[in-house]
């Protein structure tokens, strides 16, 4: 309950800040959308940083390093430090200058002007809004999942289906409403002020929590030593031979359990009472009864060659059933024993782990009593005890290299474009350009270390894993905070996590409203058709519609925050060649721009569908990140078509590429 009270106080403070900033609101649409170009260096740095660091940075990075190890920092954080500032420097300052000079509010206004094409807005608007929605989805989903995890047991009897905590759908809804209110009251100025405050909150609270958790784990050195002993692969980007040996042994045992369960289910084996007694006597591993129940007889059956009568097809069906995967109807592809990798090509039955709630129903209860299991734990134990063990995974150096393309997305984020235009002067960018990589380091290093430590941490004074294998990555940070800190600190850090999430959501909310009013409503209506006040109302209505749509999406099956984020960023990155060429390549033509947008869109859609709509977190294309293919094809299409078509007019070229004095 303490956590819930702290979160509620924080949300109220935020609403207060929104109301305060509304006092400074000048009542014009320009002030609402761009804060009248009044944002100085410090607020620009904090709002740019707060906007780019979202659930992806805190919740996603911890969860991903829990799954993939310390190399996760190199995948996105250090490359972002280089590329984000590069984008601020190469694109942001120049776009700010053009925006200031020609009065742009949105990217589409700039593209329409630069490409001498009105219709480019019609094609770009749905693409940009369509890509902002999954970005919003990351924040909305993560806020629900974090609040639910941290408030488990807050209620005596209510919300039993959500472990007696605030349900994710309710938490996400409250967060959306709070952000909507302060964005509505304060516009861009309120957003920038809230971002500045929230960025300071999540950075300071994040660092404090990091040191509290590392102390609980026995100090920095002990926490890392545990990883070296139990999961050395998580310390590097190659696979440690010891981890590989451990996995192969565990996988062989798991195969045997799968064969045994299949044989029993299909009447091919039934151990007598004497055999069962002997199996239990011979089985020495100190496992809980629910694991021993099939491990012990499976080991006995193997030792006595009782499973040799299974055909290869039956063995494959046994593996698929044990791993809760959808088996093919025909035996055609099951003629040879499936490897673990081949097994993973078969989709898993949706919601299969819900069986854990039935299997462990006697243990489930209100987590206020520490003996009780939560529903999440029941599902987690089910996954860890029934499904195949995770294979240790290294990082493919080519994939690592091509991850570099992902942070280029910053160049095309519409909400960042809008933030760039709020700057008071070009010099306001300097602090953001320099400090951004350092700030990324301050936020990501503790998160990645925490994720790595959690792979091997145990509950204080026990040998029980703090976070079991197959634990949902999105919930790792919240689970660690809950288990290792006091309710008060847990509540504060949750406020910090929510601060990071909301400091991105607000800019995105504001941006979609601005794009709709500027690029669609005022662009296609008669001059003076709408007053400033009406435009603000229209912007707010569109924001509510998009937030409602995103909220509905968030109620479906959650994906890994990191995976979803990478797909969303890849889409924006694939449009990077367009913005870069618009500013630095005189020869870019309208047709070349269309070709780039179409090539990027079609490639993104094809590869996204091929990855089973982000369900496969390890998807690659030709051994590279999909974004590499998207950028290559978009660039090639843009260059070839531009060179084949008529160059832009002299007037446009003089406007955007003035000759140096």
């Amino acid at each position: 309950m303490t956590q819930l009270v702290i979160i509620s106080i924080y949300l109220c403070l935020l609403l207060g800040l929104g109301l305060f900033s509304s006092k400074l609101f000048r009542g014009t649409s320009k002030d609402y959308m761009l804060a009248s170009h009044s944002i100085g260096p410090f607020m620009l740095l904090m709002s740019l940083f707060g906007t780019t660091m979202t659930a992806f940075a805190l919740v996603g990075s911890t969860g991903e390093s829990f799954k993939e190890g310390a190399g996760v920092y190199g995948l996105l954080a250090s490359s972002s430090g280089i590329i984000h500032s590069l984008c601020f420097f190469v694109l942001g300052v120049k776009l700010w200058s053009l925006g200031h000079k020609y009065g742009y509010t949105t990217q589409i206004q700039f593209f329409r002007d630069r490409l001498e094409s009105d219709k480019i807005g019609v094609i770009l608007f749905p693409i940009l809004v369509g890509l902002v929605i999954p970005y919003l989805l990351i924040g909305v989903m993560a806020s629900g999942s974090v609040i639910n995890s941290i408030t488990e047991g807050a209620f005596e009897t209510a919300f039993a289906n959500y472990d007696y905590g605030v349900p994710p759908w309710l938490a996400s809804l409250v967060i959306c409403i709070v952000v909507l209110i302060y964005v509505f009251f304060g516009g861009m100025r309120g957003t920038a002020m809230a971002n500045t405050a929230q960025t300071m909150v999540f950075m300071v609270l994040g660092l404090i929590t990091f040191f509290i958790i590392s102390n609980k784990l026995g100090g920095l050195e002990q926490a890392t030593k545990n990883v070296l002993e139990k999961n050395p692969t998580k310390m590097m980007r190659a696979i440690d031979p010891a981890d590989n040996d451990k996995y192969e042994t565990a996988y062989a045992k798991w195969e045997n359990v799968a064969f045994y369960n299949y044989a029993v289910r299909n009447g091919k084996l039934k151990l007598s009472e004497e055999q069962m007694a002997q199996a239990n006597e011979e089985f020495k591993a100190p496992l809980p009864p629910f694991l021993k129940v099939d491990r012990a007889p499976a080991a006995y059956a193997k030792k006595n060659n009782l499973l040799d009568n299974l055909t290869v097809i039956e063995q494959n069906r046994a593996l698929l059933e044990q791993d809760d995967r959808i088996a093919p109807e025909s035996d055609e592809k099951l003629g040879e024993l499936l490897s673990h990798k081949e097994l993973q090509h078969y989709p898993r039955q949706p919601g299969a782990d819900n069986a854990g709630m039935e299997k462990f129903k006697d243990k489930i209860g209100n987590p206020r009593d520490s003996k009780n299991w939560t529903l999440k734990k029941a599902r987690g134990v089910y996954r860890a005890s029934k499904w195949a063990p995770d294979a240790p995974r290294g990082m493919n150096p080519w994939k690592f290299l091509t991850y570099f393309f992902v942070p280029l997305s910053v160049g095309m984020f519409p909400h960042l474009f809008q933030h760039w235009l709020t700057a008071k002067s070009a010099d306001s960018f300097k602090l953001a350009v320099v400090a951004h990589p350092i700030f990324i380091m301050l936020v990501w290093v503790p998160c990645v270390l925490l994720g790595v430590w959690m792979t091997s941490a145990t509950l204080p004074g026990t040998n029980t894993a703090l976070i079991p294998p197959h634990f949902p990555p999105n919930a790792v940070l919240a689970a660690a905070v809950k288990a290792l800190t006091s309710p008060f600190v847990g509540g504060l850090l949750t406020a910090g996590i929510l601060a990071a999430i909301m400091s991105s959501l607000d800019s995105q909310f504001l941006c979609v409203g601005t794009m709709f009013t500027t690029d669609i409503v005022t662009h296609y209506s008669k001059k003076d058709r709408f007053s400033d006040k009406q435009l603000i109302v229209i912007a707010r209505a569109f924001i509510v519609a998009i937030v409602a749509l995103t909220y509905l999406f968030s109620l479906f099956e959650p994906r890994r925050v990191f995976t979803l984020g990478v797909w969303c960023f890849s889409g924006f990155s694939s449009l990077f060649p367009l913005i870069f060429a618009s500013l630095y390549w005189r020869r870019l033509t309208k047709a070349g721009a269309y070709a780039a947008v179409i090539a990027a869109g079609v490639t993104w859609l094809c590869l996204f569908a091929d990855s089973d709509f982000a369900a496969n977190p390890h998807y690659d294309f030709l051994g590279l990140m999909p974004v590499a293919t998207m950028i290559t094809l978009a660039t090639a299409a843009m260059i070839i078509v531009s060179l084949m078509t008529k160059p832009p007019s002299e007037e446009t070229l003089n406007k955007f590429f003035p000759k140096a004095n």
Binding site: K430, T518, H523
Partner: protein, 84 residues
């Protein structure tokens, strides 16, 4: 130093950072540095510090100059939003 030379120095440093970022020589190094920091993390944190230093230099030797007051900021806004 003129801006053009400054720009080339920054381009060179960014390329160097990109090359150093791809630290294949640390791929299978699991030994922690300072007793707790994975090498894969420490090296990349160093890249972040290097990026900060590079961009600091960029603000000193390659920062662009703009004549921002040469035109009113409302040209497009007036045309597209019905004026202010």
């Amino acid at each position: 130093m003129n801006k053009s030379t400054g720009k080339w120095i920054i381009i060179g440093l960014v390329i160097l950072l990109i090359i150093l970022h791809h630290d294949v020589w640390n791929w299978d190094d699991k030994e922690p540095v300072f007793g707790f920091m994975p090498m894969a993390l420490l090296w990349q944190a160093g890249i972040s510090l290097g990026a900060g230093a590079t961009w600091f230099l960029a603000t000193k030797i390659a920062w662009p100059e703009f004549e921002v007051d040469e035109a009113p900021a409302t040209e497009v806004a007036a045309a597209q939003e019905g004026g202010e």
